[in-house]
Point group: C2
Chain length 334, copies 2
């Protein structure tokens, strides 16, 4: 069932059918009614490929994510999909993993499908910042379609970003801990990404401001798995810290487990702050104080930016920053 069939059945030309489909006003009411009724009873649906061939787009947008089974990523994708769907776009999803090769290949698969734009979700796409070469493939992609990085900054023509104020948030929570008398604050992270670096910077600046010397042994890289973190902390010969700030809730929960195992009471002996305000933070006991990075607001903002870009309006500011919010629960005394 194609447009020719419909045209014939309705006794009009294919051009008229096309006009009806696209809601053109240059069709008489009578003709429109007739065509619509034929379409209705025949169940006709236009062939997107033919449409795409003509106009160059089928209104789909690529979403690249390292790992959709991560709570944070999943939530972001959820918001993106909702907003995009509302605006008539479909989502092509790619799970790239954290390796550069996977990112590149998945990105090209999406590009090959002629998406109208790309979302890269997660600061892993911003690379470590050591070399621009890490993100060259993103700029190359941006030569074809607008790219919006969620929660990571990549510089380049046609590359936009929406991030949360990770540095400030980490500065805030660290400062709060210091104000409550903590001086040996363990910083736990699982990543070297842009956002991990931002968080690190926030942590360090809080220490510096308070005149507390930085201790290398209080800055650890760990995998983001509850038991792994717990065991690493348990294996420390001389655990010497009175607070923990983590770059993800999962890591923080590991610290909670560590406290439970070693008889440390929370928050008296050990204060703990998580990140992302995920369901993990409220599943554990005591429940985690956590930084809410406003995923929903960021994603909504990112889609707004993108839609404006696609509608060829005036250029957008290249990035937006949404401040984080601290959700206080029982693993801290502030």
């Amino acid at each position: 069932m194609n447009i020719y069939d419909i045209a014939e059945m309705a006794g009009v030309s294919i051009a008229t059918v096309s006009r009806v489909m696209s809601g053109s006003d240059k069709v008489s009411d009578k003709t429109r009614k007739k065509v619509l009724s034929v379409i209705e009873e025949s169940g006709y649906t236009p062939n997107v490929f033919a449409q795409g061939l003509g106009v160059g787009t089928i209104h789909s947008i690529g979403i690249l994510v390292p790992n959709i089974s991560d709570l944070y990523m999943a939530e972001a994708v959820s918001f993106l999909e909702n907003e995009l769907q509302k605006n008539g776009y479909n989502c092509l999803l790619g799970c790239s993993g954290f390796e550069l090769s996977g990112k590149e290949s998945h990105l090209h698969m999406l590009l090959d499908k002629r998406v109208d734009a790309l979302f890269l979700v997660g600061s892993t796409y911003a690379g470590s910042g050591k070399s621009d070469a890490e993100t060259d493939y993103i700029r190359a992609a941006a030569a074809q379609v607008p790219v919006v990085v969620i929660n990571g900054a990549v510089k380049g023509e046609n590359v936009h970003s929406a991030v949360c104020g990770d540095r400030q948030a980490m500065y805030d929570v660290t400062s709060s801990l210091i104000q409550r008398g903590r001086k040996r604050i363990l910083f736990l992270t699982d990543s070297h990404s842009y956002s991990a670096q931002e968080k690190t910077a926030g942590y360090l600046s809080a220490l510096e401001e308070a005149g507390i010397p930085v201790r290398e042994d209080l800055m650890m890289h760990v995998p983001n798995r509850i038991h792994a973190v717990r065991d690493i902390l348990l294996s420390l010969p001389d655990p010497d810290f009175d607070a923990v700030v983590a770059t993800d809730d999962g890591i923080a929960v590991g610290a909670v487990k560590f406290a439970a195992r070693t008889g440390r009471s929370i928050p008296q002996d050990l204060q703990i702050v998580g990140y992302n305000n995920s369901s993990l933070s409220v599943a554990c006991e005591p429940e985690l104080t956590s930084v809410d990075n406003r995923t929903e607001d960021i994603c909504r903002g990112a889609v707004t930016v993108l839609l404006r870009l696609l509608s060829e309006k005036e250029p957008m500011p290249p990035s937006m920053v949404v401040p984080c919010r601290i959700v206080r629960r029982r693993t801290t005394d502030f």
Copy 2:
């Protein structure tokens, strides 16, 4: 940059370029080399829409999910995407919500994009089973492309399914509790879906087998939010149960929180079993015994089924069942 440009630059016809692109062996090595080098240096990528128009597919598969920010769904999508990508398919993602209208509209958006097949993830798509009308739209879709329901059974031509043995699993855990002397087992669920019904049936058959009368007040519907569940249990005038089986970890964690609030010790006073073996089950304290429904195996199997379907091999058995696995932790004494 299109196939004509490449053909001209390589001094061959478009047919030859097309052959090279599709890896046909009916091209001389010399010609192939030449064409490939031109393609390489020009960065040519075939236009999928034109391809699609010709052959009727661009190798994309629709994945419909009620809510991707749910841990279980996200994991399933992750596995599906991985398997499909490996086999050269892209994924069009739709988040439909739990309302019929959303399901139908999202499903049509995917169909309109001419996907080769559809995955429906989650037993919500199987409806309540009260009326076939609830799932008619699925059968209608199946008239166009193969449909595979993950974790829910829908009957119909060209509708396949991959489910886990929920009924048996629930029977097993309930029986184990009974064997450990528990007689007042609270069943908590947040859904009326196919899988919820299966789980209910397992629970009931374990009671029946043990000759324990069913008590309506011990079968509750609750929202799947930790604090909500906790508060509902706390508000019970006369909480009279010595074990809890829940159809999701989030719900079970709510019961754990309830126990903590009311001074019940786990598992002595109250045994608790969760479902899905998610990270929540290991975040809470004590850690939850949970039913692992083998998402990965189910998804892998589902993709296998689908690929066979798409490659026009002999018809598949309409459904596969993967047995669940009980992961024992510290909220039970078995």
